[in-house]
Symmetry: C2
Subunit: 151 residues, 2 copies
């Protein structure tokens, strides 16, 4: 019971009653959440990219795990793009995320689709298959950053 009370105390402050923030207690938390997701996603893609590049030895198991991690992460950041959180902390989010929400959402969907292909390819254990999907992932990352992230 003590542990239960502790987790309550630790986490009870996380939910806000402010509707606009939905799942985030503070705008800063939304920024930190999506940046955390992006960092983990980038790292897992990078691990596989290094294998494709020949900078790291190909390890099919690590590649499959890393790609599955990246695929999972690609589903997580979107609720954290809470309107107004382009003015918080050290975010590089552009206001176009909200002013051109249809395009942003389309890119978000595309990223998840490309990540699913990437992860499926990695499960086959073939470096050639992985290589064939990496451009789609990288292109979607780049296009979203070009349009929706400040330099």
């Amino acid at each position: 019971m003590k542990a239960f009370v502790t987790v309550m105390a630790l986490t009870g402050a996380l939910l806000s009653s402010t509707p606009v923030l939905a799942q985030f207690a503070k705008p800063e938390d939304a920024v930190r959440y999506r940046q955390s997701v992006m960092f983990i996603m980038q790292y897992n893609v990078g691990r596989v990219a290094a294998m494709v590049q020949g900078k790291a030895p190909f390890d099919a198991k690590v590649a499959a795990e890393s790609a599955a991690n990246a695929e999972f992460m690609s589903k997580l950041p979107w609720p954290a793009y809470v309107a107004g959180t382009d003015k918080v902390g050290n975010t590089r989010a552009k206001p176009e995320i909200w002013s051109d929400a249809a395009k942003f959402n389309e890119t978000a969907e595309k990223l998840q689709a490309e990540m699913a292909k990437f992860s499926a390819a990695a499960k086959t254990g073939s470096l050639d298959n992985i290589k064939a999907t990496l451009g789609g992932v990288g292109g979607t990352c780049k296009s979203c950053h070009d349009n929706f992230r400040k330099d």
Copy 2:
């Protein structure tokens, strides 16, 4: 192809040839990686805990998704506890993580097991079932923080 080259350029520096760092290019990246994972995990547990507490309305779908996210995250941080990264940046990692590795690993396994129970409970759609597993999650978080994280 340009996108492919871009993802290569973006990610090619991520892999280190330093064996001790394994999957991380820099010690700071390992710290950031595990802190990112912990933040996302904590946030997803917190979302469910708020429902158990009555601080947020119970939404079975959000609870199940959040618990599944937390379960997934519970598998990720462990390779990022690279020896020596208790001396890097603003980490609160204690040296006991490595000097008492058996106990740390045991706690890591326990967390994953408790998170699996928590996520399975959340899939049932019953708040009572979720409540019954939250103490196990919170207790394992607390015990690991007490033993392996500086105040």
